[in-house]
Assembly symmetry: C2
Homo-oligomer: 308 residues x 2
Amino acid sequence: MRLGIDIGGTKTAAVAIGADGELSDLVRLPTGFGAPAVLSTARQVVERMSELAGVAVGSFDSIGIGIPGAVDTTTGRVEHAVNLGLEGLDLGPRLSDELGVAVRVENDVKAAALGAHHLLGVADGVTAHSMAYLNLGTGLAAGIVLDGELLRGGHGVAGEIGHIPIDPSGVVCGCGQRGCIETFASGSAIGRMWPTSNPLPARELFDLAAAGDRRAVEVREQFLRGAASAVRLLALTTDVDDIVIGGGLAALGDPLLLGVRRILNEWALDSAFLASIGLAERVQVIPLGFPAAAVGAALVGEPSWQNS
Amino acid sequence: MRLGIDIGGTKTAAVAIGADGELSDLVRLPTGFGAPAVLSTARQVVERMSELAGVAVGSFDSIGIGIPGAVDTTTGRVEHAVNLGLEGLDLGPRLSDELGVAVRVENDVKAAALGAHHLLGVADGVTAHSMAYLNLGTGLAAGIVLDGELLRGGHGVAGEIGHIPIDPSGVVCGCGQRGCIETFASGSAIGRMWPTSNPLPARELFDLAAAGDRRAVEVREQFLRGAASAVRLLALTTDVDDIVIGGGLAALGDPLLLGVRRILNEWALDSAFLASIGLAERVQVIPLGFPAAAVGAALVGEPSWQNS
């Protein structure tokens, strides 16, 4: 059994995959802040999974972790995971030493891309898809899988399309550039464009827009055009077959999917070139509740460093 | 000996690569217009190469062709090569039947990407680079090579970054969209922004800008910002190590390379994120006169269909 753990800013989720590919129930715990607390949360979630599965911790075949930040997949070290209070942590080796099981670490968006890729394979029985996972969370980034292989890149920025500018007259992004895609289509973009005390600002925005609120419609359209721009950019660069939208904002579901498709179809009306590549049909939104990052983490495979 | 042929809008160039990797002299002929003339030009260039090499046509191990348009690499068919007057031509099978040698066909920008990749390998002895070839010709497109493998994509648009919009207030592109990268950084963009009767408009533009002509400086900067945008986009999507600029406008040489690097460095002043990924050092311009597309065509390897 392979264990996958998704360490997020607020919660840590784990799932096990059996040899038959079947997924276990999901376990969730609140994530602690800072290195000792993050390690402890990870340890607790592994123990909880071992109890649920009725097997010893040491009998898991492998443990994979998806975590935000800059991850060195060779050493299992994570850096700059600001939301978790981690400046730098040898997460893989530390956890592996404590648990006696090989632990591999991957960036959370890349792990989620592998999880979404797995789901495509379950749906159609094909094991090697070319697809992109477009994560709409606090920020915007993508994970790209080509012929079943995750594109990792050489400088830690593969799929960092959120920081590609698409409007020279846009607002200044946190990265210092102007008009980045992330300033249109992300949780932080909605926070800026739609200030509210509602705990679900994106939901409120879409509900009010659906009810005809003019300002909400305007902001929603800005957001949808940003997301559709990301889809178009991924297709015209990597030419993947499928673009699967995930991340926290994917919980918007059909209003998000249909909105992005509508924008892509509107663009295709003016461009025979765009119309010919059928972008709208290539977009999906990941099913609500599917733990893409945890599943992908379970699939990242054996660590290249040795478990001592 | 493997033969590579680059069929361009005005000229057809051929080169042979020996088993030791050595390149022969280049042969060039004007390209004919329309299917029979294109076929005849290709045949002539093969015959010329066979004379030069002092071997029979049938003794070439393989023939590869790079050609503009939509190429089906499996069947060797090319479509929509408008500048060559080709609506559709079974170029691979036709030429293979006539010459008795296996012929493989590839899109010219993708072939040039393989040629540029080969050049990187010659320079440092590493056989599998991750790099992008940014073609600045009449249009703008890229060929992406990941770990030595050409990214072909599933829908014929891998690397078609010229039609990614980067300015909603830009001009309408030939593709029907507004503000595409190609409307800033391509031969057609220069033709629109810098109308002139000079046969080398880009050279004139850069020369006058260097001499301080204000209008020329303005247009040159638009062009360079477009090219730098393409470099940034390729890096933040695929995270390749090198971006090699080629195509007709690469003949501008140092003024182009130094200009693109200057823009990237200016951007990095405002963005610690951009500064951290060292874009300027990852850009190169292909050496003047290197026949990238012909060399890449020679390398495309054995056809997957059988030579009868």
